[in-house]
Amino acid sequence: MTSTNGTSVGTQRVKRGLAEMLKGGVIMDVVNAEQAKIAEDAGACAVMALERVPADIRRDGGVARMSDPEMIEGIKAAVTIPVMAKVRIGHFVEAQILEALGVDFIDESEVLTPADETHHIDKFGFTVPFVCGATNLGEALRRVSEGACMIRSKGEAGTGNIVEAVRHLRNIFGDIRKITQADNAELFQWAKTLQAPLGLVQEIAETGKFPVPIFCAGGIATPADAALAMQLGGEAVFVGSGIFKSDDPAPRAKAIVEATTHFRDANVLARVSRGLGAPMTGIAMDEINGTQRFAERGW
């Protein structure tokens, strides 16, 4: 999209650029302007505007959809940091609406009920950048091939349990490490095994890194969880239910921000982990049956 004076908007570089700006930060789920202010005050680098946090979506059941534009606009007006919002997998009209509202990033999210069981959104068709969830490297690369400018682990949202996010980050970064050691012939096999475009697999082998930033999401409830995600290779973290489902959101939010920045400094982690009150209760994975596992949505 280039204008006559040589100025371009919505390029991959500009879209991936915002993902670069969010690195080392914490993106917090908020359901109203008041929570958005608390998040910004605590040092969030962006907020995710949604009607219900994943823990409540999980509890309520039913179909979860894009949030009411009025609520998203209320949050946009309340803060100066970027505002993200979620659309259902494959629901490109919800994405068109969010772009018209001027949100800064769209999350094509498994936390909402999928609208298309075969196709994800063609994300190249939008000026606004997209983030998508992934459980492994093949899924992450398929999303990049559709135009995603940021990947996040899916984890298991709304559980306060980090185990799935750890599994997904280890899957993704473990395979990236193996690909950087592979020879050219092995790369063809990697592309087949991962069901991912060969060009992107070759790009990883050449550059030694994933084409877009990889953030961690799904189950972060404590400063230690955030630092774990960062030490495993995550470049920033999303915290959903973990903040506003805890006893005392503001100090916990601030502590998670500090832990994400100083993720290798155990002294800082010990200091900020003190006296935060109870985290969200959380759910063990064997308490969730297959149909309620969000991470299995999308492919």
């Binding site: 080392g24 800064d104 000026t127 920045t261």
Partner: protein
Amino acid sequence: MNPVVGVLALQGAFAAHAECVASLGVSVQEVRTPEQLEHVDALVMPGGESSTMSQLLLSSGLFGAIAQRIESGMPTFGTCAGMILLASEVLDGRSDQRSFGAIDISVRRNAFGRQIDSFESSIHTPFGDFHGVFIRAPRIERTGPAVEVIGRLGDEPVLVRQGNVLAASFHPELAGDARLHEYFVTTMTTARKV
């Protein structure tokens, strides 16, 4: 002796800056604490969220330490949010947002618009054109008499310098072009150490 260039790594695009500096064969140190700051000869402040960085600067004890180093002449290069942190006046910031007042400019946060308005365009400077990447970029609305305008987008200042402080409203670290980092390292950092 070769300089060590620090990159403020509290939040934002520090990894891209570190890569740019390293591509020049210069030593890079990520800076998250006052102790790490002691080991650097110059500092790059990346883009990101200036409100987040401002809070982390205070909680880490870096705010005072950096202010002191800038005062004593440490070469400093701020891009986007980094420029906001260096400015003497920040418009449309948060009321509790702090800045170093190291360069006499008034900067309006996110003045080029939201992400859907983010753009790439050519920037004109005395040492050639640069490819400017502007992400939710701030605008320089006023430059003081001591400020030299080095780069412009159309008529508007986007790259400015005052003494040892260099500031850009765009992102050279995202353009795959290390010329500005080279200018910062060779002209501003090395020259000072002779």
